[in-house]
């Protein structure tokens, strides 16, 4: 049995067995490998960093080099049971367009985000007056890839605007998770460090 990083484990739990899955921004393929071996998923990965792609392929994972901002248009409608975008949407150029594309190519979409509304983030900005640095957001403002950070409320608002239905939410704070059917409680926007959304349209 492979052990997974906590947030990836929670994502994997949302995926039904024997599904066709694409992981956008799959990194070194940790989640794909798990889904392939433990959930019998038919997997495909898209990763912008060629070195990481090569690593995935050398592990026998089906991964191609590509850019979420440019290449999602390639895939036919509803060609995957699940489209996973883990901790990546905040690093894309056009999150709204991407979310629309994800729901076009996938029957279900799983998106995880670092919550910029988390109280420690708010406190950093309020007290120090500086861009927050936390365990999830650990780069300086000038080095970070996260150009479109958002809070849980921001994200659920965008889903509303796009008429996307959030079926389930899992929030994480100091390694404890909470599950919500549909959107999370308002207070999660302060107490959760990350959130995972299962979206269906």
């Amino acid at each position: 049995m492979i052990t997974l990083r906590k947030d990836l484990d929670l994502i994997a739990n949302l995926v039904e067995d024997n599904s066709k899955v694409i992981d956008i921004g799959c990194g070194n393929g940790e989640l794909l490998n798990f889904l392939n071996k433990n959930k019998n998923s038919k997997i495909q990965g898209l990763e912008i960093n060629q070195k990481k792609v090569n690593k995935c392929v050398s592990k026998g994972l089906s991964v191609i080099q590509g850019d979420a901002d440019k290449d999602l248009g390639l895939y036919p409608e509803k060609s995957f049971d699940y489209v996973i975008l883990s901790q990546t949407i905040q690093a894309t150029l056009e999150p709204k367009k991407i979310l629309t594309e994800l729901t076009r190519i996938g029957k279900r979409v799983i998106v995880s985000i670092p919550n910029f509304g988390f109280w420690k983030v708010r406190l950093d900005l309020l007290i120090k007056g500086k861009m927050p640095i936390t365990s999830k957001l650990n780069s300086t403002w000038f080095e970070t890839e996260n150009i479109h950070l958002c809070t849980i409320s921001d994200f659920t608002d965008l889903c509303d605007q796009l008429n996307l239905k959030i079926k389930q939410t899992v929030t994480i704070a100091s390694n404890k998770q909470k599950r919500f059917s549909g959107k999370p409680n308002k207070s999660e926007n302060i107490f959760a460090e990350e959130a995972i959304f299962l979206i269906q349209n």
Binding site: V57, S58, K59, G60, S62, I64, D71, L74
Partner: protein, 371 residues
């Protein structure tokens, strides 16, 4: 010639059936020369076909009978190597139109008892593959674990996957393209013109006269060889270094090492390659255009194929650059096909697929193990 190959454990398949070519012409019976490595298991489900490139042949992992050099992909094929012969039964076939035992323009036309020369019909990549399928049938193999090839070998792999997807578990086209570009055709035309401009070519009938258009073929090889390298690799290997000289010779001898190297490449090539074969095979590559042959878009050709693809390109390859390989990757993705794609960092040019690139080995090894 074929007796020579037989001495080298080369196998022959005398295909008695007529072969209808893409051009509409027919070859009435032909020979296919091939080599195998490893053992075919009782279920006959462990075979891999390796397709060779323009100047390659069936001697993929064994001593070449003419050059006495090791096989052209010896570092990839063998026991405990990525294409592991203790697991796989590896087949490598000299292409139809080739000159290492398979029927080609240098063979005797049984109808006239004369060398075919330019009376040999024009063949295409699809025709080469059709002949390979016949051999695979004859060996009783229903499904290949993979068909693997670089450059023209990659074109054959793409054609296999397009026309015979049910016969494959996977395909690995390397440093290749779904159609020849204007630049690709241009370089081949240079080579062909060099051969045909050689007075010894004699409209293709040089065998009868016991001559050989060696100069022309050698220039063709020199031109082509430059396209397989890169500026970086040429600079690194030769720079402006002089050959056995301390100063310029003020003449037209090979002053520079690069000149001497190219001349050597040209000379050794004519010993092992038939000039007419070179014309026919470059033509087959120029005619290669999957979308035209299959009258469908690349995406439609492969849509919903059940086989796995691994596409490989090299950063320093300007002959079949990453962009050409990516076109195939995109078409496969759009068709919902299981595809992996790696681009290997290398400054060795197109030839990188034949050379020492450890990251490439690891990717190929991982992919084959996942099958």
């Amino acid at each position: 010639m074929n007796e020579e190959h037989k001495k080298n454990d080369c196998l022959f398949y005398n295909d008695p059936e007529s072969l209808l070519l893409e051009s509409g012409q027919i070859i009435n019976g032909h020979d296919i020369a091939y080599k195998t490595y490893g053992t075919l298991n009782s279920k006959k489900d462990n075979a891999i076909l390796i397709c060779h490139a323009l100047s390659g042949d069936q001697y993929v992992a064994s001593l070449h009978p003419i050059t006495k050099k090791e096989g052209w992909w010896e570092r990839m094929v063998g026991k405990d190597k990525p294409i592991d012969t203790s697991r796989f039964f590896v087949i490598c076939i000299n292409v139809l139109g080739g000159c290492m035992g398979s029927t080609g323009p240098a063979s005797i036309n049984p109808e006239t008892n004369k060398v075919f020369a330019v009376n040999f019909p024009i063949i295409t990549i699809a025709d080469m593959v059709k002949a390979q399928v016949r051999l695979i049938d004859n060996l009783g193999i229903e499904e290949l674990v993979s068909v693997i090839g670089g450059s023209m070998g990659g074109m054959q792999a793409l054609e296999w996957a397009a026309s015979y997807p049910e016969r494959l578990k996977s395909a690995i086209p390397i440093a290749t393209s779904s159609r020849h570009t204007a630049q690709n055709i241009a370089f081949h035309e240079l080579g062909r013109q060099a051969i045909m401009a050689d007075i010894n070519w004699n409209a293709g009938n040089y065998k009868d006269q016991n001559t050989n258009p060696s100069k022309g073929l050698s220039i063709a090889r020199m031109t082509a060889h430059v396209t397989y390298l890169s500026e970086a690799s040429l600079t690194k290997k030769f720079g402006r270094k002089l050959q056995d000289k301390t100063d310029l010779g003020f003449g037209f001898d090979a002053d520079f090492q690069i000149e001497s190297y190219l001349r050597h490449q040209g000379h050794t090539f004519v010993d092992r390659f038939d000039a007419n074969s070179y014309l026919y095979i470059t033509r087959a590559m120029d005619y290669f255009d999957l979308e035209k042959t299959h009258k469908k878009s690349l995406t439609e050709i492969y849509a919903n194929s059940n086989l796995k693809f691994l596409i490989v390109s090299f950063t320093g390859d300007w002959l079949y650059p990453t962009s050409e390989n990516l076109m195939i990757v995109r078409a496969l993705s759009a068709g919902g096909v299981d595809v992996s794609f790696v681009e290997i960092e290398s400054d060795k040019g197109h030839d990188a697929f034949l050379l020492d690139e450890p990251e490439f080995d690891v990717c190929l090894d991982g992919f084959l193990k996942s099958l």
